[in-house]
């Protein structure tokens, strides 16, 4: 496992995090999805595309506002029952009952559908209530959240229940399942959790996070000849601890697949995606994976420190982006294992969602301190390298600082960043140094990841006690899962819950809405490109380099291409003879 990550919670219900932080991305990718398959599987090669072969259902069919989901009749639970329409309705009903889960929103499932029903044993239909909707968006960002649940789970401590038919029964069922999920030591023996439709069953999970999985012999999905039969996940306390174990093949606990700290990777030759291994890892092969994510640092457009109007100015955002040395960070602390972020849609892996225009033009705002100085000087600022720039021409006309920026306003900002990731800390220090050269003073504050995220998503000027003092915040990346489509409604639309800095402009909102309303895939692609072509140049956030994950696999173990959603699939791994 990656340092700090471990399996903690087995119940694969995304709304199941009421008062519990344990249901993490590690649980979804490295535990739950291995036992309980989502209705639709995303990950085709390295791309985050719907994979019809692995999915439990055929690609959804849309007739007007009705969507039809046809489950494959070949899929079985390990107790012999079929994975059928009732299992999907069971999930939908529980979602309707548990409205305070983290993935529930008033605009998402199940609020945006009605008349959910099992039309036949293997067919589910539901009516989409939105007057306009994108089929691509609904499949990739709504239906993607569903994980069918077996009828064996439709019960409480006192016996069978009927959540599948009555939403009112679901809260009690959820409470029972959640309470059972708090007994970690019983995961391997529980008759509830032993009913799986995925390729793995839990043998044990101890309080230190060591997870042992056994291959589910009754798995009915696609199988790989010669696949492994036991899969053990070992937690690590630090990157260095995992690297030490990788380097010691005689240790009492050896690992066949592990993570290499970027700082320990030799820099690859120019133009090469993969370089050599450290000499101490000659028994291993180095694999380079990029997650389906976007790396950025939001400006806080709602900060109450008086500096927010500066962020509203496009010239300032252009100047500030010019101080970010993405290539320098990639070649420096990332040891060559990174890609620059060039717009609001991740450009690696290169997907069909990325605007060809943006892909062709690449990074338009490479490091240039002189460009930053010129932009500031041309817009009313006195530029004082290694000092502090101040606004000397207040006003809204040409050559003036902009609305609500008073004369004498200094370019001084606070920046909170997450500790514990070496390359990111180096990147922040380098940005601060570059900014200082252009007369912008950054006050850096290192905080835990949880604190930074808590602050960044905790600013709401309308709420008493809300902390809106932060101006720039860096914690890492946004991973597109289980909403796989990089539409702007998640991160960039005004009022979106994950729009940390609350970038909010009419034109951007309209263009995002166009993507959500685009009915056909062709219309969707066109509107996605139009939106990106506009927003990329608006620099709504500070684009940061995207780091790769370096995975070491012992020689002779073939793990194939890992999908960028990072859901691991050891059922596809096999040892070469």
């Amino acid at each position: 496992m990656q340092p700090g990550g471990q399996a903690t919670y087995i119940f694969p219900f995304l709304a199941g995090t009421v008062g519990l932080d344990a249901d993490s991305v590690f649980d979804i990718d490295d535990f739950q999805y291995m036992l309980y398959r989502p209705l639709y599987w995303f990950g085709t090669g390295v791309n985050p595309y719907l994979n019809p072969q692995v999915s439990l259902a055929d690609t959804p069919v849309y007739h007007g506002h009705q969507v039809t989901i046809r489950l494959k009749s070949t899929n079985k639970w390990s107790n012999g029952e079929p994975v059928d329409a009732d299992d999907v309705v069971f999930w939908m009903n529980m979602m309707a009952a548990m409205k305070d889960g983290v993935y529930y929103s008033t605009t998402g499932l199940p609020s945006d559908v009605t008349n959910v029903k099992a039309a036949s044993k293997y067919v589910v239909t539901m009516d989409i209530t939105s007057p306009k909707f994108s089929e691509s968006w609904f499949t990739n960002n709504e239906l993607s959240e569903i994980t069918p649940m077996p009828m064996a789970w439709d019960r409480t401590a006192s016996g069978p229940s009927n959540c599948v038919a009555n939403v009112s029964d679901c809260t009690a069922v959820y409470d029972y399942l959640n309470s059972q999920a708090t007994n970690v030591s019983t995961y391997g023996s529980s008759p509830l959790w032993g009913v799986v439709d995925g390729p793995w069953k839990t043998q044990s999970l101890n309080s230190q996070g060591k997870l042992v999985l056994k291959y589910n012999k009754s798995y009915s999905g696609p199988t790989t000849p010669g696949h492994i039969t036991t899969f053990i996940e070992i937690p690590f306390t630090s990157e260095q601890a995992e690297y030490n174990v990788l380097q010691d093949p005689t240790g009492s606990q050896t690992i066949d697949v592990g993570y290499l700290p970027t700082v320990d990777a030799p820099v690859p030759p120019a133009g090469a995606n993969v370089g050599s291994n450290p000499s101490s890892l000659s028994d291993y092969k180095l694999n380079v994976n990029y997650a389906w994510q976007l790396s950025y640092m939001p400006y806080n457009f709602r900060n109450d420190t008086g500096q927010a109007p500066i962020f509203d100015q496009l010239y300032f955002r252009q100047a500030f982006q010019s101080l970010v040395d993405q290539e320098g960070v990639i070649s420096g602390p990332l040891h060559g294992y990174g890609k620059p972020t060039i717009g609001p849609v991740s450009d690696y892996p290169v997907t069909k969602y990325l605007s060809p225009q943006i892909a062709n033009q690449g990074d338009q705002w490479t490091l240039s301190i002189s460009r930053a100085e010129t932009l500031l000087r041309d817009n009313g600022w006195s530029v004082n390298p290694n000092g502090t720039d101040t606004c000397i021409h207040a006003g809204t006309g040409a050559g003036e600082c902009g609305a609500k920026i008073a004369a004498g306003t200094p370019l001084k900002f606070n920046l909170i960043y997450a500790t514990g990731i070496d390359w990111m800390e180096s990147a922040v220090r380098e940005l601060s140094s570059n900014a200082s050269l252009a007369g912008i003073q950054l006050s850096l504050t290192a905080e835990s990841f949880g604190d930074v995220v808590g602050s960044a998503f905790g600013c709401d000027p309308g709420v008493s006690g809300s902390n809106c003092k932060w101006q720039l915040a860096l914690w890492g990346s946004w991973t597109y899962q289980p909403d796989y489509l990089p539409t702007g409604d998640t991160l960039f639309q005004g009022g979106a819950p994950n729009n940390a800095g609350d970038y909010d402009t009419t034109q951007n909102n309209t263009l995002i809405q166009d993507t959500l309303d685009a009915r056909t895939p062709a219309q969707f692609d066109k509107s996605m490109y139009t939106w990106q072509n506009y927003l990329a140049g608006q620099l709504p956030v500070v684009y940061q380099p995207d780091n790769a994950t370096l995975v070491e696999t012992i020689n002779g173990l073939d793990i194939g291409p890992q999908n960028s959603a990072f859901t691991i699939t050891p059922e596809d791994w096999h040892y070469l003879k």
């Binding site: 903690t8 309080s207 030490n244 604190d451």
Partner: protein
Amino acid sequence: MTAFLARRALQAIAVVLLVTLIVFGLTWVGPAGAAAQVLGTGAHQEFLGAYLGWLGQVLQGNLGRSARLNESVGSLLAASLPRTLVLTGLSTLIALIVAIPVGLLQAVRRSSATDHVLRGITFLFYGMPPFVLGSVLVLFFAVDKHFFGAEGPQAPGIIGVVTDVRDLTLPVATLTLVTIAIFARYMRSSALDSLAQEYVEAARARGAGQRRVVLQHVLRNSLVPVVTLLGLSFPQIVGGALVVESLFNIQGMGWQIWQAAQNHDFAVTLGFTLVIAVAAAVGSLLADVAYAILDPRVRDVQA
């Protein structure tokens, strides 16, 4: 002596209660949800009622649940405490066995070549971060020579940890070397003070040999500040163990409390802090007892 012990025990209990009050108070005024996480459904009580309620739960052995790890704090303690106890206990014991004679030898041979060499070595380990020292040991003894394991024991329980000598050696050695340096420097300083005392001169005047003077008069009196340091150093040793635990993949007390603090896992933070506070108070109490045994004047004056 009994009154002395009773008074010290009451003081220890008061210290532990004060620590719990402070830590609980911090969760109360901390980020939203902290108190609720610790208290469960009782988050809307008044502070004192909530504190007493939590204390009552603690006295019944219920330290709450980790929201992050989906485990009871008790089970996390049961898993991590043996590792830290073995790691810190063994390293402290070995450190004392080595540091006391080293410090004594340095004092007796003050300003000699032996003193200078030993002082240089102890300074080296005193100033070396455990992370660097541990990494060097791993690279040489585990990665290069394969003499010992690169990570700490992973077996559950004290027996499993203690019997895994191959994996236990390097983390214990790392913590021991750092701790030796601390104790040896205190021992040297303390022994130098003792050597300058009149009773040492008197013993020598009475014809006592060097061996008898050092072992019978200097050693016993020099141990008093070292014992005091030992009693109070448990939290520091746990803190130092955090780095070693992180490097050697040991989910011990230090690492768990650090993770809990980083991730706002307040029940774990509170529960583990309580255990460390109790350990520190008990350590201090034992140090006082040892102090009284070593120096009868203490109990006579304070009784």
